[in-house]
């Protein structure tokens, strides 16, 4: 027996353990690991079920039914991560460093929506492009490689976004420079290269770097598509610099996700062309079942990347500020006031819509704290506001009025 499933299941177990470990104890466990988050994490190993189905000696009919059943859970567990109760409350004891808690619920939902949306889109296209109906053949070695793509995109890309982007913007320390945008776009592109090559091997039953190598026939076109994907992802990052996180209109959020989807699609098609050696087109006449199932999977994938991810990102933003307020409340007074000063200064300097969005999330965070912490924070806020220049103070007061009374 191959070692690949043992390794693959070991990797999945590692993620499960880290994500669900009760680092701040069991008493308030569901406050920092809400059921929606837990469910989103624990349904991820349905990968194992899908792998078992695709390798089992079953009829095509039985495999199809079971695969669709497995994919329902696979999709639904990503979709509910877009709901607003996915992110938990502030709970002390999760700090890795002062002011830096281990909160996967603040980065996982958007990442999972994107990764699962990409997998479903890719799988759907594979089914649609076949001249006759057949199902993929699973390779655990492909999954073992794809796992590192998942790690690059969900925790690594998510933490970069959180620590070098969102956190710095909240504190007025930058996070919007071109260099950072290029770095983020490149990191995502590298993660996608690994993820897609891994899953292409996984669903074709091949061993990466051994069985599945680029074919020369259409390589120039494939390379153009892959480079185009990189440029689209970079373009998206540059477009995002113009937006105010948390205060984007729905139209701006949709455009942002469409950039992401277009880049992903270009990369998927470029990869398929590169590794198949021919242009792929759908075959609805000769493969109606594959076309129909593939189309449903593509639509399901797009639903995760577009509406669901938009909702998840908005919730992540509000929850990040909410939890930051709790963290500030537990800091020593001098540090708390210093950080509060930077946060309020950045809020006052932000455009009005963004200011109101941040103030509203801050008020939400304050309301969820226990009385002692809330009093500490209200005192710090009052002291910091008194120190601000009158113009900034007035801007913040207006934003508070707007956030509280609309």
């Amino acid at each position: 027996m191959s070692a690949a499933p043992i390794i693959g299941i070991g990797l999945i177990s590692t993620v499960m353990t880290i994500m669900l470990f009760p680092a701040a104890g069991l008493r308030r466990y569901t406050d920092y690991k809400p059921p929606l988050f837990m469910g989103g994490v624990i349904f991820m190993p349905l990968f194992i079920f899908i792998a078992v189905i695709l390798r089992a000696p079953l009829s095509l009919e039985a495999k199809t039914s079971l695969l669709l059943l497995g994919l329902v859970g696979f999709w639904a567990s990503a979709a509910w991560l877009g709901l607003k109760d996915t992110q938990g409350e502030y709970v002390p004891g999760l700090e890795l460093r002062p002011g830096m808690p281990f909160r996967p619920d603040l980065i996982l939902p958007g990442g999972v929506n994107y990764v699962k949306g990409t997998i479903l889109t890719g799988l759907g296209l594979m089914l649609m492009f076949q001249p006759e109906y057949r199902l993929p053949v699973w390779s655990w070695w492909g999954f073992v490689l794809a796992f590192w793509g998942i790690i690059t995109i969900i925790p690594v890309w998510g933490m970069v976004k959180m620590l070098l982007g969102r956190r710095r913007r909240f504190l007025g320390e930058g996070g919007t420079d071109v260099g950072f945008a290029v770095f983020r776009g490149t990191l995502l592109f590298v993660g996608l290269l690994i993820l897609m090559y891994g899953f292409l091997n996984a669903f074709m039953g091949r061993v990466p770097f051994v069985d599945l190598l680029p074919k020369g026939e259409r390589a120039p076109v494939a390379v153009v598509l892959i480079v185009l994907a990189y440029l689209i992802l970079l373009g998206r990052e540059l477009y995002k610099r113009r937006l105010e996180e948390g205060a984007e209109t729905t139209g701006e959020m949709v455009i942002k996700q469409l950039w992401l989807w277009a880049g992903t699609l270009s990369l998927i098609y470029g990869y398929i062309t590169l590794f198949m050696g021919r242009f792929m087109v759908p075959h609805p006449a000769t493969n109606p079942r594959g076309f129909a199932i593939g189309l449903v999977l593509v639509v399901a994938g797009v639903a995760l990347i577009l509406p669901v991810r938009i909702s998840a990102l908005r919730n992540e933003f509000r929850a990040t500020i909410r939890i930051m307020i709790g963290l500030l409340a537990d800091m020593p007074e001098a540090e708390r006031n210093g950080m509060m000063r930077r946060m309020m200064g950045a809020m006052a300097a932000a455009p009005e819509r963004s200011r109101v969005a941040r103030v509203s999330a801050m008020i939400d965070g304050l309301n969820r704290l226990d009385q002692e912490r809330r009093e500490r924070m209200v005192k710090a806020r009052t002291e910091v506001m008194a120190e601000l220049p009158s113009q900034e103070r007035r801007a913040l007061m207006r934003a508070m009025d707007e956030a509280m009374f609309g």
């Binding site: 043992i6 177990s13 466990y29 059921p35 469910g39 349905l46 078992v52 039914s65």
Partner: protein, 67 residues
């Protein structure tokens, strides 16, 4: 979060337990599906995540009620 030796040891133990559960889950599903027991295989596949999620929901409700 204290990253002491004790925490690392607990994490390692938790990982061994989780790994064991998932290996058993995989072996169980494989045996059932290879045996042609499709409903049994699917039931086992969904039982683990559904049970964990349900336990989380119960714990969540209890903690809400106790406030």
């Amino acid at each position: 979060m204290r990253t002491s030796r004790q925490t690392v040891a607990k994490l390692l133990l938790a990982w061994i337990a989780v790994y064991g559960i998932f290996l058993g889950w995989w072996v169980g599903m494989t045996a059932l599906l290879e045996d042609g027991q499709l409903a049994g295989g699917a039931l086992v596949a969904y039982a683990l995540p559904a049970a964990v999620t349900l336990a989380a929901v119960v714990k969540y409700r209890q903690s809400r009620r106790s406030r």
